[in-house]
């Protein structure tokens, strides 16, 4: 099964829509609750990263018998130092984004913690590709 969603940079009103849809589909498929929770956290954080930092992005979800693969590809500024970005508490979010309670530097650590596989490719000035895989138990 394949699902695709578009994300617009700066559009916080729709942040969480793809996560919500994917959660519903996984529930219908009878996937274990813990696994759904992990995927929802990781996907939501990836969505918010696109909204907060990039210009636009696409979420591609592929659900197989034994795993879910989520690709979040954005056109955006890229991540200058991935190791630094992975550090809890490090953030480059704007003041406006922080005032909303986002930008606490917990997004990528949350993604790491809640995925079985995580791959991040980034190019400065072009964009970032995040691949997340979770296996069903």
């Amino acid at each position: 099964m394949k699902l695709t969603y578009n994300i617009q940079g700066g559009d916080f009103t729709h942040a969480g829509h793809p996560s919500s849809e994917v959660k519903k589909v996984l529930k219908q498929l009878g996937i274990e609750g813990k696994t759904i929770k992990n995927i929802v956290i990781a996907l939501y954080e990836a969505e918010v990263n696109v909204v907060a930092h990039a210009w636009k992005g696409v979420v591609d979800v592929e659900i197989d018998e034994n795993k879910i693969t989520v690709l979040v590809n954005d056109e955006g500024p890229g991540i200058p130092d991935i190791d630094l970005a992975m550090q809890a508490g490090y953030s480059t979010a704007s003041d406006k984004v922080r005032e909303m309670g986002f930008g606490a530097g917990m997004g990528l650590p949350n993604i790491k913690k809640n995925t079985d596989e995580l791959l991040i490719e980034t190019e400065i000035g072009k964009g970032t590709k995040v691949k997340m895989v979770n296996y069903f138990s």
């Binding site: 009103t13 969480g16 929802v40 939501y44 918010v48 949350n110």
Partner: protein, 111 residues
């Protein structure tokens, strides 16, 4: 304890999401950092916060939280109210600070 019982005991304002008032509360979580709630709050908890924008309801729904309690008499904007009604998750208001309301709810849930 049901959300409606908590509302009654503490005299909370119900702004929206009345259809969810019958749900059982399993605990509470206090945070104004959204990623903290995404990462650490658990299903069935009430979320105490000063954030009033509609992303709060999106997170409450994704995390299967049973209610959101706004502190210090903060009032939610229309978009948050709408989202709360769509998700059937009660959006409540407290005339208490975060410290006070967290203490009161903790005491009620852990008599």
């Amino acid at each position: 304890m049901k959300v409606s019982e908590l509302v009654e005991k503490l005299g909370l304002t119900v702004y929206s999401g009345r259809k969810g008032l019958d749900r059982e509360i399993t605990g509470g979580y206090v945070s104004d950092l959204l990623s903290d709630v995404m990462g650490n709050a658990r299903e069935g908890e009430v979320w105490i916060t000063l954030q009033v924008h509609q992303n709060v309801m999106a997170i409450a729904s994704l995390k299967d939280l049973v209610a959101v309690v706004l502190v210090n008499n903060l009032e939610p904007p229309e978009s948050t109210v709408r989202h709360s009604n769509e998700e059937n998750i009660p959006l409540l208001g407290a005339n208490f600070s975060t410290f006070e309301i967290a203490g009161k709810i903790y005491q009620i849930l852990n008599p």
